[in-house]
């Protein structure tokens, strides 16, 4: 069975500083990997996804993530954050056969941007 661990439940960062949100997954087979963002009182929005190919994935709002198979990680990064990036971020994994049908989510990381 697949599982996802988001190592930090909360990450406080100053505005314009870089940030990395960590995600590790457990799976014995190949995977699809996703990062979603949930702004306050809203649903989830896809930031980026890794399906195959290049291990560096660029997403919306200046975010990017790197798939590292040997370390089973998919950390999310942004070089300079803004107040508007304050939100909950979820890492998710699925099996390529099932695709986006059965997403297994991590516990979430609450990113707080301080002025």
């Amino acid at each position: 069975a697949q599982s996802v661990t988001q190592l930090d439940s909360q990450v406080p960062v100053f505005e314009e500083a870089p940030v990395e949100l960590r995600c590790n997954y457990s799976s014995s087979v190949s995977v699809y990997l996703f990062w979603y963002v949930q702004y306050p009182n809203q649903g989830l929005q896809l930031l980026l996804k890794y399906l195959s190919g290049s291990t560096l994935v660029k997403g919306i709002n200046g975010f990017e993530a790197e798939f590292n198979k040997s370390q089973t990680s998919f950390h999310l990064r942004k070089p300079s954050v803004h107040i508007s990036d304050t939100a909950e971020y979820f890492c998710a994994v699925s099996h390529p056969v099932q695709g986006a049908q059965k997403l297994v989510f991590g516990q979430g990381t609450r990113l707080t941007i301080n002025p």
């Binding site: 695709g99 986006a100 049908q101």
Partner: protein
């Protein structure tokens, strides 16, 4: 993409009652799902809503507690039955549009349910 409308956006309900949540999509989608997000926790898949047939439930979820309907390709309902305070959660509808070839799921804004 897909625009998903969920109703109600929030509700406060008495224990022992039931609430039906609606999910309407602006285009025909291949698959629709229902997730639960308990307070301070992650999302858990409840079931896959199948058009014209019974939903497929994940382990730990049963039809008697969470009956689901999907009469067509753009609409589904989730009912939370005989509610208890433990059912207080955000319930989210999710869809996979045909054009996204099963590689991207879209989510509604969620229904925030509080059971008192």
């Amino acid at each position: 993409s897909a625009v998903i409308s969920q109703k109600p956006s929030r509700d406060i309900c008495q224990r022992g009652t039931s609430l039906t949540i609606q999910c309407q999509v602006d285009s025909q989608v291949t698959m629709m799902f229902w997730y639960r997000q308990q307070p301070g926790q992650s999302l858990t898949l409840i079931a896959t809503a199948n058009q014209g047939s019974e939903a497929t439930y994940e382990s730990g979820f049963v039809i008697d507690k969470f009956p689901i309907s999907r009469p067509n390709l753009t609409f589904s309902t989730l009912t939370v039955s005989n509610m208890s305070p433990e059912d207080s959660s955000i319930y989210l509808c999710s869809v996979i549009p045909r054009a996204h070839m099963n590689t991207e799921a879209f989510f509604g804004q969620g229904t925030r349910l509080t059971v008192v």
